[in-house]
Amino acid sequence: MYAKQLSVFIENREGRLEQVLEVLKNCNVNILSLSLADTSDYGLLRLIVDKPETGYNYLTENGFSAILTDLIIVKIPHKPGSLQNLLKFLSKSNINVEYMYGLTISGEEASVAMKVNDFEATRKIFDNLGVEQMLSDDIMKLNN
């Protein structure tokens, strides 16, 4: 029902990010978008990839601390105010966005990935608004 995000807990030290990417390269997993939340000691690398399960399995086998979590990914018009317009409806319903990052931009359209504190309510709001939501399969297609 939701898109999958692959998150990896990594220490904030030289080379560690590159080692994660090397594992993903070796299992032929393609990254569609990523965001890195960091503190002085560690970071959380959040990835949207074409094969989340494969990436998760390979990373875990290689000793990385990875998890899969849900995300909502929506398509919005690539023009000023469209994201604000969307969030207006969420804030009216007291839904909190935990984090968000951009995904792809293609001519007329853009897409954003978001983690919210109430997935079910958010999905309903977007459904009512007619906002197109993408699932893992849709993201696979972006890769083709």
């Binding site: 995000q5 998150s7 807990f9 503190t39 000691d41 560690y42 601390s65 990875a66 983690k115």
Partner: protein, 432 residues
């Protein structure tokens, strides 16, 4: 100046005869009043009458910090609780504290010994002394305080924590002496320097202890503050600060051996070692009534001499310590055992039981970082969830050791595993 010339300068024969008498009284006291000692002596087939002089010390059983823990809190006290007027406590190797108790007479002896040490450093009735050890369960604050009051100095009970207030009062009051840890004194010196007030102070003496420091550190303190600094030693089990202190000769710490009888033993064979040989320092308290301890193993490594000092004192002198026989760390004057960290984190399911302590000294203040592995099952895609685990672990460790700590979460399986003794401590402090 010598506080108690009779006690500190008596001949070796007089001292031995006094120690013989007091040792015999103490052995009888513990045999009669402490079941722990009576059982231990009976197990060795010894009666109090078998101890005729300090030559017979090796017949007596040892006491360790574990014995104090096993008899927590008051099991080794030798007097009824109503005769105990003060309690102090220090860290034990596990969660339980080591509790010590004093009768009014014990406190008087403790103050007497601390008064000798302060006098040895040059402090007198005309001095104004800031006591900047922590006041409370730790013996440092109240111990130095009692001795300073006894000699009639004007005592400013600063305790620790507010350096700005301390330096302001040091200047405004014309403070002439200070008692604190050596690393804190260097921090005070830096504060005075950065505030441009170093030339306004009237400080003459510092009595520093509660943590290991080197001759080089003493010289640095002395040249930066233009004072004389002295090394005071003590441990709560024996009394507190004032067990020994060095004089202006800086040639070993004079032990108050008419109250605390020192021995040096081989840490492996446990046999007595002659003067000059390095081993574990062992004390028998020979005047304490509340919590007398027989052959208490301090785990501090040093050597001893009974030669008369150039300062005219005849009391035995121990050298600066060259290490410990256990893994106890002293961080900002607080005793810390790695096992305390272990006990605290094994209760947290969010982290694995592996840990690494990294100790450093930044601007002359000790810092402690503890690295913990995030448990895979508690991984998250949200920073705040990880931060909460960090906070939870920080609180747990701080409560266990009573010291501020920085927790750093690291990846699972990233801390070193070892088949034998794992490395849990990296001490980057350059004590010289």
């Amino acid at each position: 100046m010598i506080w108690n010339e009779k006690a500190e300068c008596m001949s070796r024969d007089e001292m031995i005869s006094l120690q013989n008498k007091r040792l015999k009284e103490t052995v009888k006291h513990v045999y009669d009043n402490v079941p722990f000692y009576r059982k231990k002596m009976q197990a060795k087939g010894i009666e109090p009458e078998d101890i005729k002089s300090i030559e017979d010390l090796p017949l007596l059983p040892f006491t360790t910090k574990d014995d104090l823990r096993d008899n927590y809190p008051f099991g080794l006290f030798a007097v009824p609780k109503k005769d105990i007027v003060r309690i102090h406590a220090s860290s034990g190797t596990t969660g339980k504290a080591t509790v010590v108790g004093y009768t009014r007479e014990d406190l008087e002896i403790w103050n007497e010994c601390t008064a000798r040490c302060l006098t040895m450093a040059g402090v007198g009735a005309e001095d104004i002394i800031q006591v900047a050890y922590g006041y409370g369960l730790f013996t440092g604050g109240l111990g130095a305080h009692g001795g300073a009051e006894k000699i009639g100095a004007m005592v400013v009970p600063m305790s620790t924590g507010n350096t700005k207030k301390l330096t302001t009062m040091m200047v405004d009051f014309g403070v002439t002496a200070i008692a604190c840890t050596p690393s804190y004194l260097l921090h005070i010196a830096e504060t005075l320097e950065s505030e441009g007030e170093i030339d306004k102070i009237k400080l003459k003496y510092a009595i520093c202890g509660a943590e290991p420091w080197t001759v080089n550190m003493r010289k640095q303190i002395e040249s930066r503050l233009h004072i004389n600094a002295f090394d005071i030693y003590g441990l709560s089990e024996i009394s507190g600060p004032g067990v020994a202190c060095d004089c202006i000769e800086h040639n070993g710490l004079h032990v108050c051996e008419d109250h605390f009888l020192p021995e040096i033993i081989d840490k492996d064979t446990l046999l007595p070692l002659p003067d000059g040989k390095t081993g574990e320092l062992v004390f028998t308290t020979i005047t304490k009534k509340g919590l007398p301890l027989i052959r208490y193993r301090t785990k501090d490594l040093t050597d001893i001499t009974h030669e008369k000092c150039n300062c005219n004192r005849t009391s035995a002198r121990i050298s600066k310590f060259c290490g410990r026989t256990d893994d106890m760390l002293i961080i900002r004057g607080v005793n810390v055992f790695p096992s305390q960290i272990e006990a605290a984190i094994t209760e947290l399911k969010e982290v694995t039981p592996h840990y690494l302590m990294i100790i450093d000294r930044v601007n002359n203040l000790d810092t402690l970082e503890v690295q913990l592995e995030l448990n895979k099952a508690f991984n998250s895609d949200e920073i705040k969830a990880i931060e909460n685990i960090n906070k939870k672990a920080t609180v747990a460790i701080q409560q266990a050791i009573g010291l501020a700590v920085k927790v750093k979460l690291v990846e699972p399986n990233s801390l070193q595993r070892s088949m034998g003794k794992a490395v849990h401590v990296i001490d980057n402090r350059k004590i010289d």
